[in-house]
């Protein structure tokens, strides 16, 4: 009897350890929860936590801190998370200038970084790293899609973005595909809230279309002022300019605006419908593109954590690379530089049941990678 019990216990414990590696995994989330960019960070956090909650994996803990959209603060938080909180994976940064301040240091100390949004060109080409994954896109992608779309509709575009890494990536990406003439190319200060001077230039430029990349509060301010200015040139932009976090604040001024995105709330797939419903049930609002990206980043970490120990960096990396997740976006796989290969769609801002949202119009790119992957040697 005794031997039988002992054998059973042994078998059970073996079985248990074989099933799940009950190894604790600590994730440090640094994101923007205050100031003009707070909407983006809140959606990032909420999308991420939804996936963690749904996984039911009790061995994963997440510590979250607000970077207030300040690079120096993000670096401090990252140092603290790595050195005193002993996190294994970092994630959550919204802004490319903050990401550039944090990621090189974090990966040098052997920590994984899975980006939920920011994807500067500098980390996609020669500067790519085995420990740095991007679950969102490469910065240029959505802008490239709009450049491609503008070829069909416009001959003379006025383009505008903030003066920081993602802003430069944005206009570079747009110009990589757009073949027409440029009526103007303007870089504004990050966090700028009054665009009267730029709108006056647009009015005088004779452009037949305007492309703006202004995430968060910047976009709200721009679109409201643009609508008030009486300038009638059609506005387009990447999904961020008209995503769910800013649409209610922009109001009807955004109606009809064309944008690009890897996902929109009206996606007609089971995974996307379930995600949208779950998100709405949990937080009582529609998810934005940032929420989807963070949701997928969390899914990626969860899937890898289920199969490999994060202490074994090579094994964990291989599991991440498999991208064994059900993304609301549909097709999702990693390129050689650990950035996504995915489809990119054209969307349009519409009013549905009194709520402003994005409707999918057509697919612009299928299985789109990025221009920097060929320079990445890992």
């Amino acid at each position: 009897m005794k031997t039988m019990l002992a054998a059973a216990t042994m078998a059970l414990s073996l079985g248990a350890s074989g099933l799940v590696m009950a190894e604790p995994l600590k994730i440090g989330m640094i994101t923007t929860l205050s100031g003009g960019g707070a909407g983006l960070g809140v959606d990032t956090r909420d999308g991420f936590m939804l996936a963690i909650k749904q996984s039911g994996n009790k061995d994963i803990t997440v510590v979250t801190e607000d970077d207030a959209q300040k690079p120096e603060l993000a670096v401090q938080i990252a140092d603290k998370m790595i050195q005193s909180d002993n996190v294994d994976v970092l994630t959550g940064i919204v802004w490319s200038n903050l990401l550039m301040a944090v990621v090189p240091g974090a990966v040098a100390q052997g920590k994984f970084y899975v980006s939920t949004n920011a994807a500067p060109a500098a980390l996609a080409g020669q500067g790519c790293n085995k420990l740095y994954f991007n679950a969102a896109y490469q910065n240029d992608n959505l802008h490239e899609a709009m450049g491609e779309y503008a070829n069909k509709t416009n001959k003379k575009m006025f383009i505008l973005a903030p003066n920081y890494p993602a802003g430069k990536d944005s206009l570079t990406g747009f110009k990589r595909y757009y073949k027409g003439e440029l009526a103007g190319e303007v870089y504004t200060k990050v966090g700028q809230t009054d665009y009267a001077a730029e709108i006056a230039q647009m009015r005088a430029s004779g452009a037949d279309g305007i492309f703006v990349f202004l995430p968060g509060g910047m976009g709200i301010a721009f679109m409201k002022q643009f609508a008030q200015s009486g300038v009638k040139i059609p506005v387009m932009g990447p999904g961020f300019s008209f995503s769910q976090d800013v649409l209610p604040a922009i109001g009807d001024a955004a109606l009809g605006a064309k944008a690009s995105g890897q996902w929109a709330p009206d996606f007609d797939t089971e995974v996307s419908k379930k995600f949208t419903a779950d998100f709405q049930k949990e937080y009582n609002r529609l998810p934005s593109i940032y929420a989807v990206q963070a949701y997928d980043a969390a899914q990626l970490i969860v899937s890898a954590a289920g199969k490999a120990s994060v202490k074994d960096a090579d094994a964990f990396r291989n599991e991440l690379l498999k991208a064994d997740i059900q993304s609301p976006r549909g097709n999702f796989k990693f390129n050689t530089n650990q950035h996504p290969i995915q489809d990119i769609y054209l969307t349009e801002v519409v009013k549905k049941d009194g709520v402003l949202t994005n409707k999918t119009v057509e697919k612009i790119f299928t299985d789109h990678g990025d221009a920097y992957a060929k320079d990445c040697k890992i």
Partner: protein, 307 residues
């Protein structure tokens, strides 16, 4: 560049200047009369914007919101003065900076606690929507013209208040010699509270007016506060007249710099580079102007005579 564009940009510069004047007037008044550096002035701007957005959403009337913004900012200013600021007049500037910085944090966190992280929205009243046509084929939003008009009225009102009324006389006396007017039997404590509430109301009004142009969100006051400090340093600390000229100078310099520098650079380098470098240079321009002015006139353009 056409005349229309130049005119429009000039108006943009004046509008930004007028908005900065509303902020700077309160800041410089408080410094002039009480010798207090109030970093929390930006928070009162935020209070005004939030009050206007909330009341406008409740009642559907922007005008009620505007009144609420004046009332709330003035009340918040008076409460802060009675509870905190009053204890700081005799302390040195470092203590004042520390205490008012703490107030920024309290106001920001308090507002986030009440309203959440997402920006509020405030629409322009129907009366002020649309654009007006100006000579030279230019056009300009009515609302921005209205802001310029409000700023001009406030400037006139402040001039009359300070130059022609008993209260203004006391304020000027307070600027010249605080102890003496106390000794002459003027209730200096009430005067301080009044001046602080007045400055706060102006900041609140600026916040509400700008709230309809931008988004109403936590932390919206701090970038404006920095500019307002630049304005009063350029204008001469404590001088309302200096605040007006300083604000217009900063507003026009910033707007025209953003617009002209990239075009100027485009003559030498390719347009994309010019946009990037010009944009970066434009954001430094007002600080360069400030440095030059301080090098020539270390106490600002219109330093108060007594200081």
């Amino acid at each position: 560049m056409t005349i229309a564009l130049a005119l429009e940009q000039l108006l943009n510069g004046i509008q930004l200047g007028v908005m900065l004047f509303l902020m700077a007037a309160g800041l410089t008044l408080i410094f002039g009369v009480m010798g207090l550096i109030n970093l929390a002035h930006g928070s009162l701007y935020m209070v005004g914007a939030f009050a206007c957005a909330t009341v406008a959403a409740w009642t559907g009337s922007f005008w009620l919101g505007l009144i609420a913004s004046l009332a709330c900012a003035a009340a918040a200013g008076a409460i802060v003065e009675l509870a905190v600021i009053r204890r700081l007049y005799d302390r040195d500037h470092l203590d004042q900076v520390l205490a008012t910085f703490a107030l920024i944090l309290i106001f920001s966190e308090g507002t986030r606690w009440l309203f959440g992280d997402f920006p509020l929205y405030l629409d322009i009243p129907p009366l002020l929507q649309g654009i007006v046509n100006l000579p030279g084929d230019a056009s300009y939003p009515v609302y921005r013209l209205a802001i310029i008009a409000v700023g001009a009225l406030i400037a006139l009102g402040l001039y009359l208040l300070i130059g022609k009324t008993r209260l203004g006389m006391r304020i000027r006396a307070g600027e010249s010699d605080r102890e003496m007017i106390g000794a002459l039997g003027v209730d200096i404590r009430t005067l301080y509270t009044l001046v602080f509430a007045l400055g706060s109301a102006l900041a609140g009004l600026a916040g509400a007016l700008v709230g309809a142009l931008q988004s109403v969100q936590v932390g919206m006051g701090e970038p404006v506060l920095i500019l307002a400090f630049v304005v009063i340093v350029i204008g001469g600390i404590g001088s309302i007249k200096g605040a007006l000229y300083g604000a217009l100078l900063v507003g026009v310099t910033d707007t025209l710099g953003r617009f002209l520098l990239p075009q100027l650079l485009a003559l030498f380098v390719d347009p994309s580079q010019a946009g990037m470098i010009g944009g970066a240079m434009a954001s430094m321009l007002i600080y360069v102007v400030m440095a030059v002015i301080l090098a020539v006139k270390p106490r600002g353009l219109f330093p108060p005579a007594h200081a």
